[in-house]
């Protein structure tokens, strides 16, 4: 869960800027420095990225929002778009919305900005970035642009210099000087000053993928099998050295079929185990997840969702794997599906998923997405557990029954090496001893047992983030999950400032469904708005299937990759409020 600060009204709490350029222009480097500079100056900050289809050397844009409050949502509009050059940058027009108050900065030597940007009415400020960089020996245009952007926001020079010095091993002096020169270009302008920074607190600078990886380690994961796939690779790359430092191991698998089976094998041996993938990989893992359900072997799969189906848009975000995560397994296969609802919550949700998998002896799927995974943000210290949940193991005893029909459905698991308790973990239906059985009675008993484990789960407050509506305020509720939560939260805050109150329920535990809890959360609600980032309304259908939704239900959805912006939520809420 997030720390839950209420965001401020639009236009008063943040400034969003974007830096674009061709491959090698260093826009990501400069973007990261801007993020770091904002952090040094005491601000919250978010950097998302977009890039063209090229493996390397393609056009890219770093989008940085500097805020006085924590958020992982992008704002409605960008105040500034600076480009080192304009080659192919026009294809980012939908992802970098501008308006007449925005500023376009470009090097006149690189030609005029694309019409797609100019038609927003944004003012064009030509700045000879390349020529300016040349004034400094070893200076680069991206560092000048960094200085310009920081200067327009009135970030303290000291913070910018410190960020540059921290990031650059070589050419530090030239980098600092180029950034200073950029700041000097912005000095005469009063365009987009930031509000004062919030009171100092301890904060982290982290990506969603790193947060999920660390959450897994905190949860106790000590074995990872990895097959590279965009946008989950960085999660695995973070874990490889981190696991080694904790005495765990990561095996690079030959494919996702191997990854999932490796973690099942490791977990059968007693090691809490995880793999991370994206939609295409999850599709390949589904068969073996069913083995995890039947043989009751805990494993965690993080799905960093990208635009599908098939290869889709591999580098961009979408929430369209909900169906496969919930319903993709053949047979009746109860399992856990958890979705982080903030970038920082990638840590808490993944840690929790490990705990749930281990304590219930089931596979758990974590639905993160590219937006969270590849964004880097300054966040409040993530919320996490201070303990590791150990699985229930069998130590001794006569006539051991691995799949004993217990009241909770969870039965003690013997780990290899334990004398006298050897059994065979099997994908075949089995009796209590684990002996394969084709008897109807055994099938029913074991199905009931596996269902019971999830039915008896008490997730406490973790099942969802609920905000607003505590004192019966408002009869509108917005239901959402995952990376839509940030913009929904801001949209709700803006609507409230304009007199329309709505409550937010962002589901974290998607399976098993919690109909009673949602019923309570929606008490008194007459209108429900369901927000999700996919084409067919998978979340809406899930809600309609598993829950009783009160009153009138509206759907706000679209496929990836464009994220929802707070203004869209705000306008929709005002419409609902007027009814």
């Amino acid at each position: 869960m997030t720390a839950g600060q209420t965001p401020l009204h639009p236009g008063h709490g943040s400034v969003s800027v974007a830096l674009a350029g061709s491959g090698g222009a260093g826009v990501m480097t400069a973007g990261n420095m801007l993020l770091e500079a904002a952090a040094q100056a005491g601000y919250y900050s978010l950097m998302t990225r977009t890039s063209g289809p090229q493996i390397r050397g393609g056009e890219a844009a770093a989008m940085v929002r500097v805020c006085s409050f924590p958020t992982d949502a992008q704002d409605d509009r960008f105040a500034v778009l600076a480009a080192i050059d304009w080659q192919n940058i026009g294809r980012f027009a939908a992802e970098i919305p501008l308006d007449s108050s925005s500023l376009l900065i470009g090097d006149p030597a690189q030609g005029d900005p694309p019409e797609l940007f100019l038609k927003s009415g944004a003012r064009y400020l030509p700045l000879p970035l390349k020529a300016l960089a040349k004034q400094i020996e070893g200076g680069w245009p991206n560092m000048v642009a960094l200085g310009v952007l920081a200067g327009l926001m009135r970030l303290p020079a000291q913070a910018v210099e410190r960020a540059v010095a921290r990031s650059m091993k070589k050419g530090r002096e030239a980098g600092i000087n180029a950034a200073r020169l950029g700041m000097a270009q912005a000095a005469a302008r009063e365009d987009f000053p930031l509000p004062p920074p919030p009171p100092k607190t301890v904060r982290w600078l982290i990506t969603g993928n790193e947060a999920a990886g660390l959450g897994a380690l905190r949860g106790g994961v000590r074995f990872v099998a990895a097959y590279p796939i965009t946008p989950a690779t960085e999660l695995l790359e973070y874990m490889a050295p981190a696991l080694a430092k904790l005495g765990g191991t990561l095996v690079q698998a030959e494919d996702e079929l191997a990854s999932i089976n490796m973690i099942l094998g490791a977990s059968y041996g007693g090691a809490p185990a995880l793999t991370a993938t994206s939609g295409p990989g999850l599709s390949l893992m589904i068969e073996a997840l069913g083995l995890g359900v039947t043989a009751e072997i805990p494993v965690v799969v993080v799905d960093v969702m990208r635009t599908g189906p098939s290869t889709g848009i591999a580098t961009k975000s979408e929430q369209a794997d909900l169906n496969i995560a919930l319903y993709g397994l053949h047979g009746d296969a109860p399992h856990v599906v958890v979705a982080p609802n903030s970038l920082a919550d990638c840590l808490g949700a993944t840690e929790w998923a490990v705990h749930l998998a281990e304590s219930l002896q089931v596979p758990a799927i974590v639905l993160s997405d590219q937006y969270f995974g590849q964004a880097r943000a300054v966040v409040d210290v993530p919320v996490f557990q201070d303990r590791v949940v150990a699985r229930l193991t069998a130590k001794n005893g006569a006539a051991y029954k691995r799949y004993a029909l217990t009241e909770s459905g969870v039965s003690p698991m013997a780990l290899p090496g334990t004398p006298g308790l050897a059994y065979t973990a099997d994908g075949l239906e089995h009796n209590e001893r684990g002996i394969p059985s084709s008897q109807a009675s055994d099938h029913l008993a074991q199905m009931d047992k596996r269902a019971r484990k999830l039915a008896q789960l008490d997730p406490g407050e973790n099942w969802a983030s609920q905000e607003g509506g505590c004192d019966g305020e408002g009869d509108i509720a917005v239901l959402t999950f995952g990376s839509c939560t940030g913009p929904v939260r801001e949209g709700i805050a803006r609507a409230r400032a304009d007199g329309v109150a709505a409550r937010l329920v962002s589901l974290r535990l998607l399976s098993p469904a919690q109909p009673e809890r949602l019923k309570q959360a929606l008490a008194g609600v007459k209108r429900v708005l369901v927000v999700e980032q996919n084409h067919s309304g998978q979340f809406l259908r899930y809600l309609r299937g598993e829950y009783d939704l009160p009153g009138e239900v509206a759907s706000l959805r679209r496929p990836g990759p464009l994220p929802f912006r707070p203004d869209e939520i705000y306008r929709r809420l005002l419409e609902l409020g007027r009814k």
């Binding site: 660390l214 905190r218 490796m262 490791a266 977990s267 004398p419």
Partner: protein
């Protein structure tokens, strides 16, 4: 079922009371005997051994032992065993498979298990047929073998698993015959002792769908020369022999897959890496 810790164990202590589903005369009965004999000869205890398998007749073997068993999905036994062995290097891990499970659906994992050289013993019971699904051509079936699914024969040449194993980096390659349970037990024991990935192809007749394989007992014979540590030489021998040379054919010296190293940090310390400094 659980013998006292001090006693030396016999083969029967590794055999469970669960009755196999195999057909009468199936070669896999003998392979089961060989496995239990080898484990007894190695002085192992059942709780310290895991038998991992996929799907097929041969893959039913784990539950017929008193060891820890893992009967997973079709074709993925090597992956599951890799995860298990890397996570639990203290265990002796045997992997049981057949020619369909191991060479067809699981073919990719075979290549990479050989490359990776995790300390596993991979036992493939090869009968050149899919038995559990009642008689279809497998990757080792002769191209002219007639079946319902490939009338008149598949027309597709056979796969040569021993050469593939060598080319892919397996550290121990042997051929055994189920008709000689003691010889097979000795080969399996040697395979378990040898570090790294050991591959034992066991010719194990399917008398139900390949009654012609009853003739294998006349054809099988000991390999005429001792194992080599030169993969090229081993490959030449295997590619030119009659397919019935029984024995250890190759013993390599590759270092097994490296596993975990002792912890040098804590999760709290890893978290602090993300804490913002200064500002």
């Amino acid at each position: 079922m659980n013998p006292p810790a001090s006693a030396a164990l016999a083969a029967k202590d590794f055999k469970s009371d669960y009755k196999p589903i195999w057909c009468p005369g199936c070669g896999d009965y003998s392979v089961l005997s060989s496995v239990t004999k080898a484990l007894a000869a190695l002085g192992l205890r059942p709780e310290n051994v895991a038998v991992v398998s996929g799907i097929g007749c041969s893959s039913r073997i784990p539950a017929y032992t008193t060891c820890y068993g893992f009967h997973g999905v079709h074709g993925r036994s090597l992956a599951a065993a890799t995860g298990l062995k890397v996570a639990r290097p203290d265990l002796t891990v045997l992997v049981a498979s057949g020619d369909g499970d191991g060479y067809s659906i699981g073919g990719n994992h075979f290549l990479h298990a050989c490359r990776r050289n995790v300390d596993l013993t991979y036992i493939v019971m090869d009968n050149h047929v899919y038995g559990m699904t009642k008689g279809q051509a497998s990757p080792t079936t002769e191209p002219d073998w007639d079946s319902k699914l490939s009338p008149g024969g598949s027309g597709v040449r056979e796969f040569h698993p021993l050469v593939i194993a060598l080319a892919s980096g397996a550290n121990f390659v042997a051929r055994a015959f189920s008709g000689d349970p003691n010889g097979t037990a000795a080969i399996l024991a040697e395979a378990v002792r040898h570090p790294g990935f050991s591959f034992v192809e066991v010719l194990s007749p399917c008398v139900t769908f390949r009654p012609d394989q009853r003739a294998w007992k006349e054809r099988a014979h000991p390999a005429p020369v001792a194992p080599t540590d030169d993969p090229a030489r081993a490959a030449r021998r295997i590619m030119t022999d009659d397919g019935f040379n029984i024995g250890v054919l190759y013993k390599g010296n590759r270092k097994p897959y490296r596993g975990a190293v002792p912890a040098t940090s804590t999760v709290a310390e890893l978290g602090r890496r993300f804490e913002l400094q200064g500002g």
